[in-house]
Symmetry: C2
Subunit: 422 residues, 2 copies
C-alpha cells in the first residue's frame, strides 16, 4: 500500500530542496499518532485514529461550505476560533458521519473530546474531532469510549501509518506522504494523510485531510499559508460534484520558529504535500481507472484558470469520454465554456498529452488512434498517480494559470453508488 | 410515439381552462412546419426541419450561456436583437452542431438562411437557424442546400409531427405537445416541440425548444413572459450538468392581439407547455429509467427554491441512489446543503412520494422496503412522464417554492457516453 501512494512522486516534481521521506504524519519531530480497531465499522477494519501535536502547536482548519454540516465540524471551527488557532489533538472515527443527528450529534462529539482530553491531560477545548461514514448515523458511543484507552496507549512516533488506515471508508488505498528540506541549516519535515473517496468536490470533499509540520510559524501566517495551499490542492479536486457534510482539513505546526525568509519555501512544501494528497483522493475516486489533470494557462487570473480546470474535471461527458479513451475535444471545450469565466473561444488551444487537438478555437487534424492509445496507456497502472491523463488548455494571453484534478466516470461508479445502502 | 409524449398530461395537472389537443407545433392557427430527410445524418433519419410563422410574428429567444457557442446561436441572437424580436422562420439541421467551426460556421449559417429566405419570399434577417449534433463538424452544405426545396414543398398545417422528429439526435422519443383554452371568448392555442438528451443542464441544455402561439402579444411583453417561463421549465432541468454550445429556445407568437387581462392565463399555458417539454427532455436523458421531480418549499424566494431543486437533481450520488431505488435521504439533504442558498438545516423535512423520511433536520423511522418499492413502481413505465420519482423538501418557513427535474444516473449513461465517437 505504501508503495502505491509514494511511487508517483517521481511523476510529480517536488519543489526545489524538498525530498520524500518515510513516516507520513509522524515524520515531523514531536508528533505522535495511533490507529486502532474500536469496533465502529461492521467490517472490522481500523476505525479510530488519533493525532497528538507537541505543546504550543498552532492549527489551521478548513471546513465544508455545505449548509448541512456535522456537529463535529461546528465544534472544530468554534474551538479553533475561540483559542486563536491553538489545538493539540484530533480524534477521528470512521464508520458514522454523525451528521443530521441533531442535538445528540453535538452531545456525543463533546463527550468524546472530553473523555479523550482527560486521558491526554489536556483541556477539552484543545481536542478536535472528525467523523466520516454514513450520514444520519450517530456514533455508538459505548464502543468509541471503550476504544479511547487502547487508542491513547497506541500513540507512537511510528503511528502515522496506522492512523492513515483508520480514517478510511470506501477508499481502496491509504493516502499519506512526508517531505523534508533543509531550510536555513535546519531540517524541516511535513507529513500528511487524507481519505476520500465519494462526495469529492470543491469546496472540500467527503474528505478528511491532516498535515503536520515541525517548524514553528505564527498562527495568522500559518492560517494564511494553509488557506492558499488548500485553494491549490483540496479545493481543486472533484470526483462527483458532491460536497459532504463533514469535510475537514486540519494542519498543525509546532517547533522552533522558522525565519520568515524561509516561509515561501515552506509554503511550497506544504503545497506539494497537499497536492499529492488531493491527487491521491481524486485518483481513488469511486470506480475510477485514471487520474485526470487539467492545466489551464492564459486565463485572466489564477482563480479563473482553476475554475476552468475544475469545470472540465467535473464534466460527466468529459469523464465518460476519457473512460472510453475517446479524445473528445468538443466536450472539453464545451465544459470550459460553461465555467462562468470570460475567455476568447477563438483563442483556445488544447492538448491531450503531447497531442494537440485544437488551435485558435478550432479542431486540428490529429492522430486519433495515437491519442486514444495515450489514454489507454496512462490508465494501465493500477492506482499509481503517474497514470495521469493530462489535458492542457490555453485560453488566451492572460497571466492566470492553475490546475485541477479529477477522475473518469465509470459503470463501476454507478454500481457502487446505486447499490450502497444508506 | 405520440402516446408516450401525451399520456403524462394526466399526471401533470394543466392550469385551469387549458386542455390538450393534437397537432404539436402546428396546432396554433397559421403556423406551418415540415421535417424531411436531407441526408445529413449517416443513420438516414429525418434531419432537416422548418417552422414558418404567420406575418407579424414576434419571437422571443433564450440562448446558451456557454462562452463557446455555435455561430448559429450568435446569428439568432443578433437577428432578434436587430429586428426587435421580429422573425418568421427557423431552420433546424440535426447531425452537425456547427460549433467550433470558426469563420466557416458563420458563413454556412448565413448561406443557409439566405437560400431558405429566397424560397420563402422573406428577408434573410427574418430567418433563424439552429444546429444540433456533433461539435466541431461543419454542415455538409451541398446536402443541406439540396434539401431546402423539398423542405419548403413539405410545409403544411400538419407538419408539426414531422418537424418534431427531424430535430432529434440521440433522443429516444419525440417531444411535442399542444394546448388550447378559451380566453375571453376566443380559442387560443399553444404548440411546442423540443429535443434533448445529453448535455442537459441549466442554463439551457443541448436542447432545442420551439413554441408557437396564435395570440398576438406585444414583443416586449412576450419576451418577459417567455423569460419567466424558461426559468421555471428549461432552466429547471438537468441531465448531466453539462451545458451545450448550441442550446436555443425560440417562442413565436402571431395572431389577433390578446387583451392584457388574459395575459396571466396565457402565461400559465406557456408554462405548462414548456414544463411538459422540459420534463420530457429530462425523462429522456441518456440511459435514464425514470424522471425525478424535486419540489422545494419554504425557501427565502422562488429562485432559491429552484436552486436547491436543481442541485438535488444534479447530484450524481442522489441520481445513483434513485437508480438503485435506495431511499437515501442523506444524499438528498447533503446535496441541498451545497446549493449555495441559505436555509436552516434543523428545519428540513423530506418526503419521497408519500413516505416522510426526515423531520426537523433528522431522519425518521420509515418503512424502507415500501419507500424503495415506491421508486421501483414509478420506474416501471417505459418513457412515460407519470413514472416520476417525487422528492419534496421543506427547508423553512419562507415564501419561496419551485421545482426542478432530472433523471437517474445509470451504467447505461456511462456506456453511451464512453462509447460515443466525437
Amino acid at each position: 500500500m505504501r508503495a502505491a501512494s509514494l511511487a508517483p512522486l517521481s511523476a510529480f516534481p517536488l519543489p526545489p530542496g524538498w525530498q520524500a521521506i518515510a513516516g507520513g504524519l509522524t515524520a515531523p519531530e514531536g508528533f505522535l499518532a495511533a490507529g486502532i480497531t474500536a469496533g465502529l465499522k461492521p467490517s472490522g477494519n481500523p476505525d479510530l485514529a488519533l493525532l497528538l501535536a507537541p505543546l504550543g502547536a498552532v492549527c489551521a482548519g478548513s471546513f465544508t461550505l455545505n449548509r448541512v454540516r456535522a456537529a463535529c465540524v461546528d465544534l472544530c471551527a468554534e474551538r479553533l476560533d475561540a483559542r486563536g488557532g491553538q489545538a493539540r489533538a484530533v480524534l477521528t472515527n470512521s464508520g458514522q458521519a454523525n451528521a443530521c443527528t441533531g442535538e445528540r450529534g453535538l452531545i456525543d462529539s463533546l463527550k468524546a473530546t472530553e473523555e479523550l482530553a482527560k486521558r491526554l491531560g489536556l483541556e477539552a477545548e484543545e481536542v478536535l474531532i472528525c467523523s466520516t461514514g454514513v450520514i444520519g448515523q450517530p456514533i455508538p458511543m459505548d464502543t468509541l469510549l471503550a476504544g479511547l484507552d487502547p487508542l491513547v496507549a497506541a500513540l507512537s512516533r511510528q503511528g502515522g501509518e496506522a492512523a492513515a488506515r483508520a480514517i478510511l471508508t470506501t477508499d481502496l488505498i491509504d493516502k499519506q506522504i512526508a517531505l523534508e528540506a533543509d531550510l536555513g541549516g535546519r531540517t524541516v519535515r511535513i507529513g500528511g494523510m487524507a481519505k476520500g473517496s465519494g462526495m469529492i468536490h470543491p469546496n472540500m470533499a467527503t474528505m478528511l485531510g491532516y498535515l503536520s509540520c515541525d517548524a514553528g510559524v505564527p498562527a495568522e501566517t500559518w492560517q494564511a499559508m494553509v488557506r492558499r495551499v488548500v485553494d491549490r490542492s483540496f479545493n481543486a479536486i472533484t470526483v462527483d460534484g458532491d460536497t459532504s457534510t463533514n469535510d475537514t482539513f486540519l494542519a498543525f505546526a509546532a517547533g522552533e520558529p522558522l525565519s520568515p525568509e524561509h516561509w515561501p519555501a515552506l509554503e511550497a512544501g506544504l503545497a506539494a504535500v497537499s497536492q499529492h494528497l488531493a491527487r491521491a483522493i481524486a485518483r481513488d475516486g469511486e470506480g475510477a481507472t485514471c487520474l485526470i489533470e487539467v492545466r489551464v494557462e492564459g486565463a485572466v487570473d489564477d482563480a479563473a484558470a482553476r475554475a476552468i480546470g475544475r469545470t472540465v474535471c467535473s464534466s460527466s461527458l468529459v469523464k465518460c469520454a476519457i473512460h472510453g479513451r475517446d479524445p473528445n475535444w468538443g466536450r472539453i471545450v464545451a465544459a470550459a465554456g460553461r465555467a462562468g469565466v470570460g475567455f476568447d473561444p477563438d483563442a483556445v488551444a488544447l492538448w491531450l498529452g503531447e497531442h494537440q487537438l485544437m488551435a485558435a478555437g478550432q479542431p486540428l487534424a490529429f492522430d486519433r488512434p495515437a491519442a486514444s492509445r495515450y489514454m489507454k496507456e496512462r490508465a494501465a497502472g493500477a492506482y499509481l498517480l503517474d497514470d495521469t491523463v493530462l489535458i492542457r488548455l490555453l485560453v488566451g494571453e492572460g497571466p492566470g494559470k492553475g490546475a485541477a484534478w479529477g477522475c473518469d466516470l465509470t459503470d463501476q461508479y454507478v454500481r457502487i453508488n446505486a447499490d450502497y445502502t444508506t
